[in-house]
Amino acid sequence: MTKLQTASLDLFDIQGDIVRPYGRFGFPFARYVFFNIREGTRGRAFLTAILAKVTSAATWGIGPDPIPKPLATTNLAFTYQGLKNLELPRATLAGFPEEFAMGMKARKDILGDDGPSSPEYWDPIWRKSRDKNRDLDVHVLVSINGQSMAALEERYQWLLEAVAASDGGVVQLSGHRGHDGAENLPYQEGHALLEDGQLCTKEHFGYTDGIGDPYFAGLADASERVRGRGKQMDDGTWAPLATGEFLLGHIDEAHEYPAAPVPFLLSRNGTFMVYRKLHENVASFDGFLERESRNFSGSKALLKAKFVGRWADNGAPLTTAPDDKSKAEWDARFAQASDVEKDRMLSDFTYDDDMSGAKCPFSSHMRRINPRASLEFTQGDKPGAMVRSRGAFDTPGALVNRRRIIRRGMPYGEAKDRTSDRGNHGIVIMMLNADIGRQFEFVQQQWINYGNDFKASNDKEILLGNHDKEYPSRAVLPADPDGERAPYFLRNIPRLVETRGGDYFFIPSMTALRLIAKGLVDPT
């Protein structure tokens, strides 16, 4: 027996994908495989068979009896229908939140999945799920990440054997789109993209992705990671967010346990996940950037950075590198910095000196997804000036701390022809939170597809907004209220990202997985 390393979180009980972005831990290849459970007993037997290889969040490679880093990881998640078919008791099912039971497709009006993002254009697997034939409903997601393609393939073959052994109790669902018109692939692939032959952390528009992840109580390395990732306090310090914002069964930012089903053991250390396949319109993006850069007064790279709030090449935040000159200086410092310092340069910043958005625009991706303390603001005296409204909230980030989301995911496909929006390439994004309605759906509806909280009327987030030709989208790139320069308006923003499918999932703890597999979930 090996003594557990002291840690605030029960890392052995939490599925690994909640705590680790596998892509950044040396697993550049991913495969997302979906199943329909036809029969409860055999479905649970299938779970029992694959449980042994489910990857927990336990730390790899330290201590006297180290947990080895696996060549491939495996993680599980379930839709509401999946839990129902695994025969969870009715009293337990009734305790799940309404939006989880409804699923992503039925929430399309809230999410703005309209026009080319509407469910009728989704990949066949998602079009057919939650439709007429219950045998085609998505019930289980098994996600595999591999250090190599070979390791990934080996784990996938092992999974298929377990499916075969279920004797028809579990059926793999095909219907993923691929290249060259493929419509019926058996799984969704994901992989880190290559840049100059090297694996990188970029997506198809060329941005460095996945930098800002929330830091919450119980995670390791607080002193190194909390600044810029936790919650901003009045005195300028940072504190970890409450664990209950991301894990069920823990106290959240409102000092309550998040809504969760009974029994407590089923929900504790689990969370909810939003799986979204997002297609990226690379030709529209390149064309839009090209068109706007002709009139924009700065460089094309700066304009590209204005869309997301970070420079595309290395993720330098606009708040600390607001123009070409300061970016060159930032790069020089970055090149000399240690890994810890690099991480800090990327994450540790506030909008305190950019309340008017002259550096990082209000409609940029990063500011909309995580406004930090910048919503505690009001109109200043000069035209276009916004100022901090100190003391308006309980803490400066009070509105934001309840809307944070852990993002996991991988690019998929290749943008083979950048002169066309067609093809199969984008991002599979998985967003983790304790409350899909309060966190993901709120951010999507109010901050991505609407701008009122940012005093930006109905301007949408530049990259992810559901821009619609019938109501031409604009975004303001504000100028310094003390300067001479005019703000710049982005006009007729095309739909840059389109939803291709997905659903809402529950990620149980390791304990809960065992209970479900044994049919021992008991709400009484």
Binding site: N295, K469, E470, Y471, P472, R474, Y488, F489, R491
Partner: protein
Amino acid sequence: MGSNVSGKAYALTILSPIKNAYVAGVACADTVRDQLENWNLLQNSPMARVPQTYLARLFVLDDVFTQSLPGAGALDTVSDFLPAVPDGIRRAALPTPDHLKSKYLVFSIDFHGELEPYLRGMWQAIAPEIQSVWQHCYGFDAVSDAEDFVAYMKKCQLTAALFFVGSNDDPLGEQLKALYLKQEFSRFALESQGLPTAELKKRYQEFIARVKPTDLTGPAWTPGQYALLKHSDARQEAAL
């Protein structure tokens, strides 16, 4: 009177008792509710036709809500410490929940100006709709013209202190014009971005000539407008 007024904005709250009766097997309160629901099926509320209306809300109040068993005050507190008090006495000391004497039609509006002219304007604009809803209320049988209506509504009036925050106290026409100008000006700013000064001046003059900023009878939002025009419809409109 002061508490109903904020600057030139007026907050009116009316509670009209609905007859405790039925017609052709349907209770009057249910008929009122059904008629109000029908307003939701119209392109716009009849209240959009009533001059100077900022916001209107109508609903049927069935009864007051009982939130919990009310406490009995001092005796209840004392009896907690003196379990010797028999349960029967304790229960008898609890107050009974309150109920309304009838169901009410609640009519709550914010508008610009003074009460009587507003109510006269309302009668002139939508008398048939008023009659079809209010005929089910006690005392409305005697209402047959604008002055009767004003007198009736004042009898049903409650003092109000809360105002619609989405509006200031300017006349409705000025607010609608201002919203229109704000939207059109941002469109102008977008479309003329980066133009040389002379061209910008010329376009601005054209813009001002088109939107007529000081002319309230010129282009503006219409009362009750709740959606943006589609780009294709807006173009059509501009072409006409």
